[in-house]
């Protein structure tokens, strides 16, 4: 092993042929899945937002292009330098989250939009990356077989600070999306089974507490209506029911592109964002759904492979954190659209319309490829 790493340590950026050979050793699966899903996404956004004008599809294309550039940038930087810089990036992310509380614009009910001249974005999305980096750096430094309670608490605190700030923006959906990242990274870093059971119990008790004391009536009706959507077709169960009709009416091969009655007749809410899967399922049928799910499955499997052959702890944990977030989005969104989980504003990675969200997911893919690219370099 020593001699092997010794050989690779001599490689410099100027050493072009070896560089190319190394590029050939990178697993490009995640990139191919990302690009294929993004293209399917643009086409579906165009159909879903056809009533709102073609500008939605154009903007999504722009974001995909910008996403590709960001992906390339994050591929070029050495991920270990980013891990070294993690505390600074983390603090920068937090300061943006604080800033948006004061000067942010309200969009879609949440004060989460930070405008910089003609541009703008949601710091809550970008802080995902800095938080993953910080968490990976902290957990990579803990080298025992299992984490102790103090270490788990520190890790939880690292995630909790941005989550509280984002919750203060009234953007609970995005805030909740930080938890799969934490759970995935802790589980891989090592939690004793007994401690895991304790956490599960605490989780159950607090969920019951939330239901009784903290949840707003509309949030409760959402869950109740999820359990029996047929009771009130125009009330809270409306969205689930219309979404299921859209998905089901697609049958095997779909209604055809742009011909979905459910999507085109405006039965579906948030057609181009949270319910994009329903539009896809209606217009391309089960065949289309299978293609998309296969792409996501391929993405998850290939990134898990990248994590497994990553050269250091930080690399493994980084991939786990990034992929846990994306995977949770995929599983939740795909389930909610077909009525398997209650409806919440969780978009579909690479498919749904949205600038910051698209950009951050592309950046995540860039980081994952970066880790694979540098798995030999010993520096």
């Amino acid at each position: 092993m020593k001699s092997l790493s010794g050989t690779f340590s001599r490689i410099t950026p100027a050493d072009e042929p070896s560089r190319l050979r190394r590029l050939g050793n990178v697993n490009w699966g995640p990139l191919l899945a990302t690009l294929a899903l993004a293209m399917i996404g643009v086409a579906t956004v165009r159909s879903a937002a056809s009533e709102l004008g073609p500008s939605y599809a154009y903007r999504q294309i722009v974001w995909v292009v910008v996403g590709c550039l960001a992906l390339a940038v994050l591929f070029r930087l050495d991920y270990r330098k980013l891990v070294d810089l993690a505390p600074a990036l983390y603090l920068f992310g937090l300061s943006l989250l604080v800033l948006v509380l004061f000067v942010g614009e309200v969009r879609g009910g949440a004060k989460s939009w930070l405008a910089i001249g003609p541009f703008g974005g949601q710091p809550s999305e970008f802080a995902k990356l800095s938080t993953v980096l910080m968490l990976a750096r902290y957990l990579a430094g803990q080298r025992r077989a299992f984490l102790d309670l103090r270490q788990i608490s520190v890790a939880a605190l690292i995630v909790l600070v941005p989550v509280v700030l984002i919750a203060a923006e009234r953007d609970l959906g995005t805030a909740a999306m930080y938890l799969p990242m934490l759970a995935g990274m802790l589980l891989v870093a090592g939690v004793r089974p007994r401690m895991l059971a304790t956490f599960a119990l605490i989780g159950l008790v607090s969920a019951a507490g939330l239901w009784t004391f903290a949840m707003k009536p509309y949030q409760k009706t959402r869950i109740v209506s999820f359990l029996s959507p047929e009771k009130d077709p125009l009330g809270a169960g409306y969205q689930v029911r219309q979404s299921k009709i859209a998905v089901g009416s697609g049958q095997w091969t779909g209604r055809g592109y742009g011909q979905g009655t459910q999507s085109q007749l405006r039965f579906l809410p948030a057609r181009h964002t949270d319910f994009i899967m329903a539009v896809l399922a209606e217009e391309w049928g089960f065949a289309g759904v299978l293609v998309v799910l296969a792409l996501y499955g391929g993405f998850i499997t290939s990134t898990a492979g990248i994590a497994a052959r990553s050269r250091d702890r930080a690399g493994i944990l980084l991939v786990v954190g990034l992929v846990s977030t994306i995977t949770f989005h995929v599983i939740y969104n795909a389930s909610m659209v077909v009525g398997l989980l209650p409806i919440t504003g969780i978009p579909m990675p690479f498919l749904s319309y949205g600038g910051s969200f698209t950009l951050v997911n592309f950046m995540a893919t860039g980081l994952i490829l970066n880790i694979d690219f540098r798995r030999y370099v010993n520096r």
Partner: protein
Amino acid sequence: MELRRHRAELISRLNVLSRLAQVLVVLIAAGYWSVQVANGAYYRELADHNRLRKRAIDASRGLIFDRHGQPLVENVPSYSLMLDRSRAQDLDRSLELVVSILGTPDQELRKILESHRSTPRFRPITLAEDLSLAELARFEVQRLEYPEFEVATNQLRLYRYAHQTSHILGYLGEVGERELQIAATDPRASYKPGDLVGKKGIELQHERLLRGADGEQVVVVDSRGQTIEKYQDTDRRRDAEAGRNLTLSLDLNLQQQAARLLEGKVGSIVAMDPRTGEILAMASSPAFNPNLFARRIQKEEWRRLIEDPYHPLQNRALQNTYPPGSVFKIVMAVAALEESAIDPSHKVFCRGFSMINDHRYRCWKSAGHGWVNLNDAIKYSCNVYFHQLGQKLDVDTIAHYSRLFGLGSKSGIDLAGEKAGLVPDRAWSRRARGTKWFPGETISVATGQGPLLVTPLQVAVMASVVAMNGRLVTPTFLSRPTSGKLKDLGISPRSLQLTREAMWTVVNDEGTGRSASIDGFEIAGKTGTAQVVRQETWTKNEDLAAEKRDHAWFASFGPFDDPKLTVVVFIEHGGAGSEAAAPLAKAMYEEFVGNLQPHHPG
């Protein structure tokens, strides 16, 4: 070694998680299979018989009134024939019915169908608009046999005074990509394809106000798509917000008078309250019938309007620029007095032309005016006197005063498409032409010729500055109760007084504008006759081809002691301002005086 051992554990835990995710994805695929394949037929049935429809509730567009509350535009219901292709058993048979009832050529109908090839089949498309009640009834009778036809009711804009207000009110057109993009960022502007929006004039300027906001409602429909029940659910109903009504500064009587006076002519009339900038009338001729645009305009009619050599769509009052000719002498007189370049009583001898630097500049009167002072020069519009001023004043000084009077920049009126015109100076010459300014050009500018270009609206603002004792007004189409927005230009009262008095003699003391004089209502004015082609000799205008004839101008205000109205008349290739323009201004003042005393005998 310990590190490597932990690494293996990390990776095995990672693999467990990855497996879990894969299993979940497979389970989700099974969920989709259950809904799409196992129960697909059931959901397809539900989708096809989805009895709930979201219907837009169109907001009714605001009305527009003149200053006295006379409606200028109204909304009238109109019926369109819609075809839902997904309900038609045989499209040929459907088209046959339309041909038999409406008499539309089959070919035309097929062209419409062709243009909607990419529209979802279940979305009704418009086959014909503006059905008569008789035609409507014949379709209703066939309802059962032809369920594919629906009748949509929408509101059409009817402009009561058609041509007479066309350039001001503008018209509506089908929403375009630009508006849809605005709608994407502005939740208040809820445009959807096919909506009609303001494209020109006031309809465009105040689109947001007039439009209101569409509402939305979920309805239960029967198998033919007819609403049988409105769903009483406040959560899913958003009421339409009607557009706001708009009261303009326009005076309908004056506007109609202006339009009538311009009939058969090419030109423009602007009538404005100099105290507030309120436009009382603004007519441009030739005009067009905006009611043509209310429905999707017929291609043939559109082509005719676009190709018309007189460009009826242009508002000549502010979209076209012309040389001002002698009405510019108002600015020259003030500039010379302010710069103390002349003594108003100093006399110049006019022999019909000036010889400056071996170049001959003519006066309009070939016999010459003899000895003239400043007042005479304005009264008789003597060019020779102003040629002298052009030698005494620098072109940059003239440009400075022109800009003070509002020339060379947009007046800021609340109507889109205004032109700024051109006030030439040395900097402009270098920048735009790349040559230095020739002194001889200043002589031309002094009589309102040369590169100088103005709009009739700017001339109205210019005349109002003199009327209002050196205060600049911003014209507007909205009725304002009081002034207060006038900008004092800091011109000495003496200069303005002398100019004003000279303008009084133009109309009331045998000057060039005497044909505008009215008993009991003293008008001050200035005629202008702008050359279109440079003439070395005195050719009678009647002997020239129409497109080479001079432009006629008359700029005026009244009553002299307490100005309430500024009138500018401009006739393209009309000939002399004294003959072609001044009498029209007189008719405008007569209408205005008649309005003031509605029960005046006779």
